[in-house]
Symmetry: C2
């Protein structure tokens, strides 16, 4: 059933070359790229010829060379077009406009009024967000190469359908078609697990490793998986639903309806539940609407003051998280495991230290030795940035931009 065509390989290798430029700025020779990607010089020449042809790379001069002929310096053509990344969260939508070097040009953030959110409301908000970033940056719509949109829950990517949203009781909403009609732009739909994994692969901890797990901790919880160097999606694009794996057999009721899920202990609702069990009248539990940010900010502030309740809440959360992360380490034997998103951002090093300790109690020695556990080094916009990377990948996969292999052969003759 494996069907690795020359076309697939070319596509993967094209991303490898581009990821070099996104990883660290600055022009490179083909020799540099061959060394950084470990691809052969011939392959790199071939790929860069295509990318130059498509206007994604530019020649910006020559590097001196001792004796030999001068080597062309290549760089990303940031002005080739723009990309939009949208992170639809439970209570807010973040829309970002990027140039092709993934430099931020404009950002828009707007809140979602909680309870019974309809697809129409979300579509309206996304449209307003896109219009706003384009207006703010004075960027013409005609130069947008694609819009990547991360929707919460499960997404059938190829059909462009939101099959299940945990917050809004959506089932099988054909969001891509709705959005493509409204925005008149190429739409690439996926969920935050895929977007964060992609963001780490392009810009973060995944640049130099083949097996990466990105744990996303917000009100929803899950894991993005990059295995053997590629984003792992599973059979129906729902891989990574670690948040709904069972950690405490017959334990707490999760929002998904099942018992004992990881999310019910380490997501923000789970953390609130742990706080409630220790201090039922704690003022942090009183906030209306989305409690995630005030709860986590409050806990972080008290942690810094050495407050015993906050310390105990984070300690218990880290004990659960270490065991749950240990499951991923035992099952997947990753090289790097990143803790990311809201919970990791607020509780930071304190959560990390406790998680490390618990991890050692739940992991076999060999996979434990092999893994580095760390906090995400990406800025707060990992998901929208990852969504823009999804749009970039969609653009690069477009057969009208990059033709069949025969084109590359022609291109090669000119290098």
């Amino acid at each position: 059933m494996v069907n690795r065509s020359a076309q697939d390989i070319r596509r993967l290798n094209r991303f490898e070359v581009l990821r070099c430029f996104h990883a660290t700025a600055g022009p490179r020779t083909r020799q540099d790229l061959a060394r950084e990607t470990t691809l052969s010089f011939a392959t790199v020449s071939n790929l860069t010829a295509e990318l130059l042809d498509a206007g994604v790379l530019l020649e910006v001069g020559h590097a001196g060379s001792s004796g030999g002929r001068p080597r062309a310096l290549l760089t990303l053509n940031a002005d080739r077009g723009t990309l939009i990344g949208v992170d639809v969260g439970e209570t807010s939508i973040r829309t970002e406009l990027f140039d092709l070097a993934l430099g931020e040009m404009a950002v828009d953030e707007r809140s979602i009024t909680p309870s019974d959110v309809t697809p129409e409301q979300i579509i309206d908000l996304i449209e307003t967000g896109v219009d706003t970033v384009l207006t703010t940056a004075k960027a013409p719509r005609s130069r947008v190469l694609g819009v990547g949109i991360s929707l919460p829950g499960l997404v059938e990517r190829e059909r462009g359908v939101s099959t299940y949203s945990p917050y809004w009781a959506w089932r099988d909403v054909p969001m891509r078609d709705h959005l493509a009609e409204r925005l008149d732009l190429p739409i690439h739909l996926d969920n935050p697990l895929k977007a964060s994994a992609l963001a780490e692969m392009w810009f973060g901890a995944g640049r130099d490793v083949d097996n990466l797990v990105v744990v996303m901790l917000r009100s929803g919880v899950g894991a993005g998986l990059a295995l053997d160097g590629t984003l792992y999606r599973g059979t129906t694009n729902s891989a990574g639903e670690w948040g709904h794996s069972c950690l405490v057999f017959r334990g707490r009721r999760c929002r998904c309806g099942n018992l004992g899920c990881v999310e019910a202990y380490v997501g923000t609702y789970g953390i609130a539940e742990t706080l409630r069990s220790l201090a039922p009248d704690d003022p942090l539990l009183a906030a209306d609407g989305d409690r995630s940010a005030p709860l986590l900010a409050g806990l972080a502030a008290r942690l810094a003051d050495g407050d015993p309740v906050a310390t105990e809440v984070v300690g218990q959360t880290a004990a659960y998280l270490g065991a749950a992360v240990g499951n991923l380490v035992n099952i997947l034997n990753p090289e790097v495991l990143v803790l990311g998103d809201q919970v990791a951002a607020y509780l930071g090093e304190h959560l990390l230290a406790g998680t490390r300790t618990a991890l050692a109690d739940h992991t076999l020695a060999q996979p434990l030795r092999a893994v580095t556990l760390r906090l995400s080094s990406l800025p707060h916009d990992a998901v929208s940035r990852g969504a823009a990377a999804l749009a970039f990948e969609g653009f690069l996969n477009d057969r009208e931009v990059f033709g069949p292999v025969s084109r590359a052969r022609t291109a090669k003759a000119r290098t």
Copy 2:
């Protein structure tokens, strides 16, 4: 970091072609192979040329063709050499000799005296097993293409080292070097999770799917993973240690020392523990030495008689197993999940039915819909057969058998 060379792709595609012949017997034309593998005719011609050259395939006549030139029929050259597969279990060693079509030629099974087992004892037993199958089948040692050996626990495959054995407290034993010296044959070392996954990929439920999980249930418990069409090994070849993932936070003590591991509930020791909690004086708990086979056989016999204690033990085991298997389904979104080995063989359909029910209570709807849960259809020798497939892969990867790409080009000219 991804480095997919033409060589890697050729190697994977070579397995694809051979797996057709192992999946169902009978000669095939290149056109048949192209259809079955979905590879291009040109690629198939190229690969079969190599395999004919190496004597792994044979031409055995021609298929009629309406008008066009006759098409050569190809088949596996079963007599090209032999393969040996060894399954080192906790209490016995199974050694099988196969022809190159993986037809069984001889088998040897011998028990391991429990307690403090040394590497020297295992090496002696393996040597005797190998000598016995060769003598039984009157097969010359010089024609053995490789010996695949599955060792329990964690194995560093490239260094050929048994890094951790759960039963015998081995640490970092360089088994491959010891064995290569004694047997004077090419040795390929791995663990039963990899061997069973490979067996399912070559001969069982994995032939037609890209994402497969093979759950191995014996005294030890784990999962073999075939993801995106290839065996997934992880960073240090220890992927699949699902048996030591946490199912019951702060639950039963596992043999690995940690608390609440899946193995402590669904491995044979875990099943004995469940029985003990229900009926502490049950005669099935009294057996000395390895209790797995008598315990499971006894439970199976009583289940058939409708015995309430046995029914409750299997019911509780299925409830744990369904939740634990649900974790793999949520995290990996496989297309097929196979329950295999001793526990599945003895408790069969009864365990499967209970596991299916529990699985539905622990899995999100989308990955649940995508997965088929079934018992392994492989005979009882999945691990030794998979170990022989490891040896076959090792032989096919041998650069002295298949040279660099340029050789294939030369070969192509002759097709």
